[in-house]
């Protein structure tokens, strides 16, 4: 409880209320006020999530900080929220990034400042809602409403081709989730009139139904992750989105899809999950190898990092579907780390884009000469993307590969190719952009980071190194919930 108010509701609604207040500041005359108010709201929004970590009871897999209220009693739909060891860290991650994107857009966004800031604040609240909803209809509402602010962010503040990208993003992800709604309604009928996710976990289902439900969920979640072959919206969305949009998209929104697999697909239809695990693993490994190679061919920095995100998320789905504790915990750690690292990389690209107005690798060269401090931060985050031990990027990949060896050596073999491919595309980009002699007079005129940018990077550097050197606080909180999920998965739900 915070001041007598339930923690999760505060975490969801505080940023949304601040978002509405920011909107109320009106047009760009009041931009400074809008910015300040947004930063205050975002920072408060992060602070109020901290009790979720400190007050979390680590030895139970029960939902904690639960709130339950009637919402639409005609269909037995509740406002039911709570967290367990799987979801709690993502709420903190979401709230952690909101102040950073507000800061990142501080100077760069000059038009419709209030609306821009409000989008991110509201987005933050909605995403926390997604991670904490325990009623499937509540989840669905949050899930779909997430699209709206992101659609606006890309469509209004995006690049030249923003309308194509925004529409593609919207339709792609919307189409994916429609079948999920059908599956939820089917489950509602099977449980005898409940939209509770935990009731879904208990209902027994025949194999055919399980497989159909799995496919319905798969379409919704795989598009968000995104998994091969439904990934092509992501590079387009990233390229056109403003920096803040890319950061939230990569750091948080992709995690929502992966989270869905853990909260819905696997516990609701465990038998189908086991049966189709081979397909999922194959798709994951394709993501690692094929997408790793495709990333190598990119000439646009944002596209490159977008493809790198898909390859890294391949590790997450691989970890889920090898069905052991190493894989699942490694995947969750990878999700958090990827949030830090991809967010940081998009911010790095944003810093260069703000100065040069190009994302094309060929337009750069020798940035280290004029921006040495930036080059050092960029190197750290690039190395984290490469999965260097001591950075957060190593932890998840390492544990997933160790877990994969236990299941099948060849899974680990293909997954481990990321050691080479990941290094190749990341460091080759770094070489062409940062190293070398000053390539042109635009690069020669670059100025190094200002205090605001340094602050953002220092915060992220601490996160990346801290998690890399001491990941225990991140992993111990999830043990019990992960083990419970694995036990649940091992029990057949066939009637």
């Amino acid at each position: 409880m915070i001041f007598g108010l339930p923690v999760i509701s505060v975490a969801i609604w505080l940023p949304i209320i601040f978002g509405i207040l920011v909107l109320a500041t009106g047009d760009d005359k009041n931009a400074p006020l809008a910015r300040t108010l947004a930063l205050v709201g975002a920072t408060l929004g992060f602070l109020v999530t901290i009790p979720l970590y400190t007050g979390f009871v680590r030895d139970t897999s029960q939902m904690q900080f639960v709130e339950m209220h009637d919402w639409i009693s005609r269909f037995n739909i509740h406002y039911h929220v709570g967290v367990d060891g799987i979801s709690v860290l993502f709420i903190l991650l979401t709230a952690f990034f909101t102040p950073l994107v507000v800061l990142a857009g501080w100077k760069v966004i000059e038009k419709r400042v209030a609306q821009y800031m409000a989008c991110f604040l509201i987005m933050s609240g909605i995403m926390i809602g997604v991670f904490s909803a325990l009623d499937s209809m509540l989840f669905y509402v949050f899930w779909e409403s997430m699209l709206i602010p992101m659609f606006l962010i890309i469509g209004v503040w995006g690049g030249q081709n923003r309308v194509y990208a925004a529409v593609k993003f919207f339709l792609y992800t919307l189409l994916g989730s429609l079948l999920m709604l059908v599956a939820l309604i089917y489950l509602y009928m099977q449980t005898g009139g409940s939209f509770e996710i935990q009731d879904f976990h208990r209902v027994s289902l025949p194999m055919t139904a399980q497989i159909l439900i799995f496919i319905a969920f798969f379409l919704a979640f795989a598009v968000k992750v995104p998994m091969f072959p439904v990934h092509t919206w992501l590079p387009d969305a990233h390229v056109e989105a403003p920096t803040g949009g890319s950061v939230i998209l990569a750091a948080i929104m992709l995690k929502v899809g992966a989270y869905g697999f853990l909260r819905f697909s696997m516990p609701i239809v465990p038998d189908a999950s086991l049966k189709l695990a081979g397909v999922m693993i194959a798709l994951s490994l394709i993501a690692v190898v094929y997408i790793g190679l495709v990333a190598l061919a990119q000439s646009d920095m944002k596209k490159l990092v977008a493809y790198s995100s898909i390859a890294h998320m391949g590790f997450v789905t691989l970890g889920f579907f090898i069905f052991n504790a190493n894989g699942m915990e490694g995947a969750l750690l990878q999700m958090i780390s990827h949030g830090f690292v991809s967010g940081a990389l998009f911010l790095c690209i944003g810093v260069m884009y703000d100065r040069m107005h190009t994302r094309n690798i060929a337009d750069y060269g020798g940035v280290a000469n004029t921006m040495p401090v930036f080059a050092a931060f960029f190197m750290l985050f690039a190395m984290a993307n490469v999965g260097l031990p001591g950075t957060s990027g190593f932890v998840g990949e390492f544990i997933v590969i160790l877990g994969a060896v236990k299941v099948n050596f060849w899974y680990a073999f293909f997954a481990a190719t990321t050691l080479v491919f990941g290094a190749a595309y990341t460091l080759w980009m770094y070489k062409r952009v940062v190293f070398g002699a000053v390539a042109n007079h635009h690069v020669a005129e670059l100025t190094d980071l200002v205090l605001r940018e340094k602050l953002i990077f220092v915060i992220l550097a601490v996160a990346v190194l801290g998690m890399g050197l001491y990941p225990l606080p991140f992993s111990e909180i999830m043990h019990v919930s992960v083990n419970d999920l694995l036990v649940h998965l091992a029990r057949s739900k066939l009637p």
Binding site: P389, K406, A412, F435
Partner: protein, 690 residues
């Protein structure tokens, strides 16, 4: 736990933070003072720990739990025994020497503090690697030294060749790490932990298991050891993953000495010695190790003969010597490998630093064809280089003699089926080593003075440092470049090009002298305890089926007797022959080498192209990956998935709705007509079914 253990790696880390992150604030002088002081602290700490371990106080314990997952606990911890402490002494001592040397060598460089930051960080990472008591931390140190190596090879990041070389080094090492990581994965699967002590204690129980690799029925230990050794092949530059090491010479000379000769590249050797309880269980793996080592030892030596860049000669010599160490590992003579690692660290660091001193003296020229007769200008560098070279070729009483002769003997006594080839390789290698070492020595210090003949515009032969600054000068707008101190430096260089060579300042020569002392003495003093005494104790395990070292012990009658015995064996005479022939060819008759080169053009071309490995890798792996990635992207993502599937679906919907739209034409007779057709069809269907 002894706090000293923590202090040794953390002191250089602190130095790295101060020099690297706050270099500007503390200034040049204080940056190097603090960094050197803290590395000195690490060295003093290592000496204290050595004394402690000598009294039998070994340690194995955790510092903190890094992660727990799936029943396994991953820890950061230290294992302090004789093997560790030997490495700690070598690493901190060479690092200290290189730190001091750097004051002189990097004096005029703009990235002075950054350089100190990197080498201190390297010292930290290397210490974490050798002090680890588990595979996870080993991997951490392993990759961290790789990172610093990457940063240092590309230290002069404006030079295209340097940033090509550092990317290449990182990627080739990653190929090795790929195998290494899978090996670690198998270890965790089999033993349920990554702690050395538990793994080693239970290793024998799994000696005859079949590895769980679907499709193959390999022995478990062979699979684990070969995978781990692939990591060592990357880090210790063994054939065919050796290709990165010669290119790494693009980095400043001090780090060539520290990282690419004395310490980092020996990490693979150390790792295999540490894993002796595993390798001893697999003859297959040991044979594999021995073959790779002997190929590296002999064939990389050949390449040293035709190099003209002073640093590259030493680099190929390093490759060849690493091959020797690997052969010793294959022969189960782990202590001999570590012994050679130690002696090599001293004399090879000495040779590199001396090469750097020469480079400074002749104004940043690296081509040995344009040196000659330098001994009268720089006596200290001359004498110490001679000592280093004598140690390298295995002159009696010098440290290299004891270690190299022991390796040859161990191979001779090995019972592995491949030991015949290995024996040939290491014995022939003695001649090759002597030949290329003294070819370089004679060309640099003796003969006619040619330092004034160096071509000015030849960027390839010019020292990396100058080329880096030159790149800077041309790339920046003139106004800015003029302001830049470094650009001035280039001008001075050119003005001073014809000036006489000079001895280098004391910060450069002092480390040479301090390294020359152990290069001479350390072998004589330590061979008995290290190889035949109980020095390593339990740190190294040798199976009772492998007798080589045991038999050597029986024939060993003291370090002095070893010398007298050497005169009756082939290797010593081969070494003498090597020196004699290079003296004849390069001092007496300098016309003959070029004649030979013309006569055997084919062989020369093969060697000059380094057996075409680089070409092949560039074409097949780098080019292949780039080509494949473009095709996959253009065809797979853009055409197939996005073009056909995604936008194709959108088009299909568009087409379909276009057709549907036609139906709603608004004309009554269209609707009436379709109604009649509909009624007709329905009635037909109905009558059919009745």
């Amino acid at each position: 736990m002894n706090n000293l253990y923590l202090m040794v790696p953390l002191a250089p880390l602190l130095g790295a933070i101060v020099a690297g992150l706050f270099g500007k604030a503390v200034g040049r002088t204080w940056a190097h003072r603090i960094a050197i002081l803290l590395v000195g602290v690490a060295f003093a700490g290592s000496v204290a720990i050595f004394n402690d371990v000598a009294e039998g106080h070994t340690f194995n314990g955790a510092v903190y739990t890094w992660l727990t997952s799936g029943g396994a606990s991953f820890q950061v911890g230290f294992l302090i025994d004789k093997l560790t402490v030997t490495m700690m002494l070598v690493v901190t001592f060479v690092s200290l020497m290189v730190h001091i040397y750097t004051i002189g060598y990097m004096e005029e460089d703009a990235g002075y503090q950054r350089f100190f930051g990197y080498i201190s960080l390297f010292t930290f990472a290397m210490l974490m690697l050798v002090m680890s008591n588990n595979f996870m931390q080993l991997f951490f140190g392993w990759e961290a030294v790789g990172l610093v190596s990457y940063l240092l090879i590309g230290f002069w990041f404006k030079k295209p060749t340097a940033i090509y070389a550092n990317l290449k080094a990182f990627l080739v090492n990653r190929v090795g790490d790929f195998g290494f990581l899978l090996g670690i994965g198998l270890v965790l699967m089999v033993f349920g932990t990554l702690q050395y002590d538990v793994v080693f204690a239970n290793a024998a129980a799994h000696a005859n298991d079949i590895a769980p690799i679907p499709g193959f029925s390999w022995n478990m230990m062979s699979a684990i050891c070969i995978l781990l050794f692939i990591g060592a092949m990357g880090k210790s530059a063994q054939f065919p993953l050796h290709v990165w090491l010669p290119d790494s010479m693009e980095g400043p000379t001090p780090i060539s000495a520290l990282i690419h000769a004395a310490t980092m590249v020996t990490a693979g050797i150390f790792m295999v010695a540490r894993m002796s309880p595993l390798f001893e269980l697999s003859e297959t793996a040991l044979s594999f190790v021995m073959v790779i080592g002997s190929i590296t030892a002999l064939f990389m030596g050949f390449l040293g003969i035709i190099q003209n860049d002073i640093k590259r000669v030493v680099a190929y010599s390093t490759l060849s010597q690493l091959g020797y160490m690997t052969v010793a590992l294959g022969a189960s003579a782990y202590s001999v490998a570590i012994f050679h690692l130690m002696t090599h660290a001293f004399f090879k660091a000495l040779l590199f630093l001396a090469a750097g001193s020469v480079i400074m003296a002749v104004h940043h020229n690296q081509d040995i064809r344009f040196m000659g007769g330098l001994k009268k200008y720089m006596p200290i560098t001359w004498i110490t280089s001679l000592i280093g070279s004598l140690a390298l070729i295995g002159t009696p009483f010098f440290s290299g003699f004891y270690s190299k002769d022991s390796i040859i003997e161990a191979v001779a006594l090995s019972k592995l089926p491949v030991s015949g080839f290995a024996y040939f390789a290491v014995v022939a290698g003695v001649f090759v080593t002597a030949f290329y070492s003294f070819r370089m020595y004679f060309l640099v210090f003796h003969g006619k003075e040619r330092y004034d003949q160096a071509p000015h515009d030849d960027h390839h032969a010019v020292d990396d440092h100058a080329a880096h600054e030159a790149a800077q000068a041309t790339a920046q707008p003139p106004a800015k470049a003029a302001k830049h101190k470094a650009a001035k430096h280039v001008k001075n260089e050119h003005a001073a090009h014809a000036a006489k060579p000079h001895e280098t300042p004391w910060v450069v020569t002092l480390p040479l002298i301090l390294l020359a002392i152990p290069s001479v003495l350390i072998g004589y003093l330590t061979i008995e305890p290290m190889l035949y005494g109980s020095y390593f104790g339990d740190a190294i395990y040798i199976s009772e089926h492998h007798h080589a070292l045991h038999e050597m012990h029986e024939e060993f009658h003291g370090a002095f007797a070893m010398v007298t015995h050497a005169f009756t064996t082939l290797p010593l005479w081969l070494a003498i022959a090597g020196v004699a022939s290079s003296a004849f060819l390069y001092l007496k008759r300098p016309d003959i080498p070029s004649a030979i080169q013309k006569r055997f053009q084919l062989v020369y071309t093969l060697l000059d192209n380094k057996y075409y490995f680089d070409r092949f890798n560039d074409w097949f792996f780098a080019g292949g990956a780039r080509g494949a990635s473009r095709i996959l992207w253009k065809f797979g993502d853009v055409t197939l998935i996005d073009g056909v599937m995604v936008n194709g679906t959108a088009k299909l919907v568009g087409m379909f709705s276009g057709v549907m739209r036609r139906l709603q034409s608004g004309y009554i007779y269209h609707y009436a007509f379709s109604m009649i057709i509909g009624v007709f069809v329905l009635m037909t269907v109905r009558t059919w079914f009745e």
